[in-house]
Point group: C2
Chain length 201, copies 2
């Protein structure tokens, strides 16, 4: 599938598109043709949007979110409650929580999770920045919204130890039955956790 | 899934990426973050490749292929046999035939197939250009490499009639068992065609 059959300029576009997550060589070719066919409606604005992202998007020096301004729009939002800090692994997780509309708090993006096998130690993640923010004193509660995976939970434990010297409440997301989920399809661990942490009806 | 949670610049990138075939809203978000994370290796070259495509890619005025030159590289390739013209529906089909390495001939891209229900009549496709090319006299054989769909076959019949006044041989791709295919999984129409058109072993 890797043979070059179009001209070098179009082939280069295809090769680069194929490196996007979710696109393989075949769909990259389809995407390239689609772009060429929709030059005015899609190719031109997309090239422009990418140039803007390349030139202006930066990482927030406070929370490590991505935005065209530093501090990012969330950190600058005066209506948010600065006493609660939601710690997430990635910007995608931050977006997921924002979509859930529970926002109102500030975030801290770790940039990943501890993973000794992949060579990801505490120095590769924004732990130091998090401790500095907490040490400044305004934060009352740190919500560890990391994934419920082994690496995520290891990271949560590590962060709990790291934050222990500071007078800050450390919480984590509740385990339980997903809204709309059917019990029959849930794993035993989740069901047991949901039963243990049952709430008044 | 359509809520805007990132800044307007990043949201615009996501919205445009989501319009690529093969990417939905969720994978467009993943792709946008991937691009931002790989600014130097991917975002920057892709923005550049798209700008090149936007500014330089054009449609070949001879065969309707896409390339940065007109006539396209295939039409300009002196080693190709100008007496055989392979008629395809789309540039993607042209690329598929080129990958098969049977090239050596010239192409003519129709730009689609006749489809009265979708309002695609002969005037919307490059039929006139094809007839002009054939009328010039160098073409000895026109291979109708259109898809084996109802619309494709309708188009093939229409083209056969259109080319009848010209002294040119009109052929079509063979029907038969796909290489590597198992008989048990083939439809009856293909099997019947393969048996009718059996060849000496």
């Amino acid at each position: 599938m890797a043979e070059r059959v179009a001209g070098p300029e179009i082939e280069r576009l295809i090769q680069l598109l194929a490196r996007l997550p979710g696109l393989g060589p075949r769909s990259a070719r389809r995407a390239a043709l689609h772009l060429i066919r929709k030059r005015e409606e899609l190719l031109s604005p997309l090239a422009e949007a990418m140039a803007v992202a390349r030139d202006r998007v930066t990482t927030c020096s406070t929370c490590c979110n991505v935005d065209v301004s530093d501090p990012c729009a969330i950190c600058r939002d005066g209506r948010r409650d600065g006493s609660t800090l939601i710690v997430v692994e990635t910007v995608a997780d931050l977006w997921a929580l924002e979509r859930a509309g529970v926002g109102g708090a500030l975030y801290h993006v770790l940039g990943g999770v501890l993973s000794p096998l992949d060579g990801v130690g505490p120095d590769k993640l924004s732990f130091e920045k998090l401790v500095t923010r907490v040490a400044e004193g305004a934060v009352r509660e740190v919500v560890l919204a990391v994934n419920a995976t082994v690496d995520g939970q290891t990271t949560a434990h590590y962060l709990t130890d790291l934050l222990a010297p500071h007078s800050v409440k450390v919480t984590r997301l509740a385990h339980g039955v997903p809204v709309g989920g059917e019990l029959d399809y849930l794993d035993e661990g989740t069901l047991a956790a949901a039963l243990r942490q049952r709430t008044p009806f």
